[in-house]
Symmetry: C2
Subunit: 429 residues, 2 copies
């Protein structure tokens, strides 16, 4: 074994960073044996240097992250700051000064992954980011390497623990959205401002990264259709139960049936209780992958948290250090397929639509005519009425989102339709 | 991209081999793009050359596997023959003549993995075998690479699809073992001679491989305790249901609580219905991994079949080809931890024991005394009697297998105990 240590600079020392530092210390012998050389924490860039950090010698702590990544003797920079800047500039500077990079930064990778990969490639360095998607769950490596001889057709994932906790709570207790969110906040599963989670921004970033890797095609964050889950109601869960379904916030990356285009989207959807994703409880994440040869695979585990995310970071750190010792780099960006990335209108799926309608003869015929005129075929209709008001629940066969959108617009114009109570996609069948 | 192709020799062209050949042809462009050079099927060694093989040019077919691996121009040998010989000699010869090897051979890897890794290392070649455990499910790569910065404490897996199909059938229909086996055979899930599956030999080989990788310690096939599932009865499933459990044939690799020794075992066990492994249906496989930092991960998918296994082989093929182009090798055997591998007596778990006893006063006191004398603490007892006969179901707290064995031996000697109807371990709690 080489005795000269590989030097690691840690950018950020919050929940994840402090766990990375702790494991580097407590598991130093194991890491050395697995890498073939010791690894040494050479510097830790933080915003508040005065804060006590157990196990991290004060002389390693600096507020000057730029100077740290410019030192020139750093082998690997571990970036766990998050956000776009200064993370992007620091990573770029790290490559320019000879370091490889391990990042947990989903927002940055989703927005600027291609540019960062290009800089890494120019300098012959590695950029690894297993921790950016679904925390500890090995996902990027299996997609990028284990399935390298297969053709992925669909990735269907629960990639946000906060929203899964809220939806699971609504499902199991009948609670409304606000009540479940309050509990998630009280238990620390939701942040004070939960927007990034509940509006699907976090999941959309992960969907962009996953789609890019799965389809060997650049998928930008802007390409991902995004719909949050704040409007899911207890009534929606009741409807889902009647269909033998539950509701999950899903990130869905799909190859179109003709194989030439792909889509990526995040929205709440009904999935059958028999689907493996339906039983993913609490804040857990799981990603279901469908491919030509493998069929159906699922990867399940904690999607966030300091220690799980640190485990993913350290797995990457070991790989990058091993590459460095053998003078190679791992697989970089693979975007050779360059498939067309289509918008939401091209997505084909099934829909569950609840309408408030007048309770009088001929309404169903009117509604059915509108669906037919837009080429959307109806699978089942359920009608319930009382006191002159009625609700009509329509479940469609597979149709394009564009056709469904046109249908709903026309339904709203009918005198007999008082309102569209909810539209929910049905997935995983 | 390099235009000179990498040459692949395929040993065996059965269910898996023919799928490997097919995908190499149909996905040639994708494979070339992902590897950075085309791959070419340079020879296929078979036993029956006259059999028609769609898509494989007759001039590539040979019965002389040894001559094929000795050619010297072969970059990667893909071994999908199975069994110990001639696979072992062919792989060794392949390394000696400059090739790297991708194998799907669990029996060989479990028995001679260390020796084969040593030969690969001497010649600076890769030995990859993702397909040897749990078919298409990426498992070896995640354990070996993604979790390289973590400490694995337990691997708990359903790694044999045939037995999972049979047990699932018994669970869902109330069928007995033989009836469920007959259905598995009729549907092609069980072989004409199902011994390797139902007696746990197949799962034991996979347990040895998984334990070795998880604990960075050599675990020989002989180190794995093995108990088949042919004696699981409908009554056992009824007992399991009363406990809120089901029964699965599990491969369990565990680090002892003191951290200094490990065990590996295969046997039927009760697991709670709330455990993610409990809902693994039909012939699917799933492996649950518990580690210090990641917590609980699960990997799920088809554990066998031509196309899924071929997907795993091709993922390895891409990795090995990439390594070859960059002049490196991937991680080899990692056995640095060299932990003690303990026998079954050291395993600590809970037990569910059904006794047929005389229905008279004092029996429970006698039985309880025997447990106490052997230091096995009782969690719950359930007594049911009629017509002078009674059954006593005892569920213990955690105890060593040695202590439990002593208890059972002593119970058999009691006049009031007419027989031990079943002993089943309880896992995953």
């Amino acid at each position: 074994m080489r005795t000269r240590p590989l030097k690691v600079a840690l950018l950020g020392c919050g929940v994840v960073g402090s766990e990375v530092a702790r494991i580097m210390t407590t598991h130093a012998d194991d890491l050395a044996a697995r890498i073939g050389a010791p690894v040494e924490l050479a510097g830790v860039a933080v915003r508040r240097p005065s804060k006590a950090r157990e196990g991290i010698p004060q002389e390693l702590v600096t507020t000057d992250a730029t100077a740290l990544v410019k030192r020139g003797d750093i082998d690997v920079v571990v970036e766990v700051i998050g956000g776009i800047e200064p993370a992007r500039s620091l990573i770029t500077t790290a490559f320019e000064h000879g370091a490889s990079v391990v990042s947990a930064n989903k927002a940055l990778l989703a927005q600027d992954g291609a540019a960062l990969h290009a800089v890494a490639g120019q300098h012959g360095k590695d950029l690894y980011y297993e921790a950016a998607v679904a925390g500890a769950i090995p996902l990027i490596r299996p997609l990028r390497e284990s399935l390298a001889g297969d053709k992925v057709n669909r990735v269907l994932g629960i990639v946000n623990g906060t929203t899964n906790f809220i939806l699971d709570k609504m499902d199991s207790t009948g609670a409304g959205y606000q009540e479940a969110l309050d509990e998630a906040t009280a238990l620390g599963y939701a942040e004070a401002d939960p927007t990034a989670d509940v509006e699907g921004f976090d999941a959309a970033a992960k969907a962009a990264i996953l789609a890019g890797i799965a389809f060997h095609t650049r998928v930008r964050l802007d390409d991902v259709y995004r719909e949050g889950m704040t409007e899911v109601t207890a009534a929606d869960f009741a409807s889902a139960k009647e269909m033998g379904c539950t509701i999950k916030l899903l990130a869905i990356c799909e190859r179109a049936e003709d194989g030439r285009s792909v889509t990526a989207r995040v929205h709440p959807a009904m999935i059958p209780l028999s689907h493996p994703l339906a039983s993913v409880r609490g804040a857990y994440n799981a990603v279901f992958v469908e491919s030509d040869a493998s069929g159906q695979l699922m990867f399940y585990g904690p999607g966030a948290g300091g220690a799980p995310t640190a485990s993913a970071v350290l797995g990457d750190l070991v790989a990058v250090c091993r590459n460095r010792l053998s003078g190679t780099t791992g697989p970089g960006e693979s975007a050779y397929a360059a498939l067309t990335v289509s918008g939401m209108g091209e997505v084909v799926t099934r829909y569950h639509i609840s309408l408030d309608v007048a309770d009088k003869p001929g309404v169903l015929a009117q509604v059915a005519t509108v669906f037919a005129e837009h080429g959307v075929s109806i699978d089942t209709v359920r009608q319930q009425g009382k006191d002159g008001e009625a609700s009509l629940v329509v479940v469609t066969h597979r149709a394009s989102d564009a056709a469904l959108g046109g249908t709903v617009e026309a339904l709203r114009k009918l005198d007999t339709v008082r309102g569209v109570a909810s539209i929910m996609r049905v997935e995983g069948e």
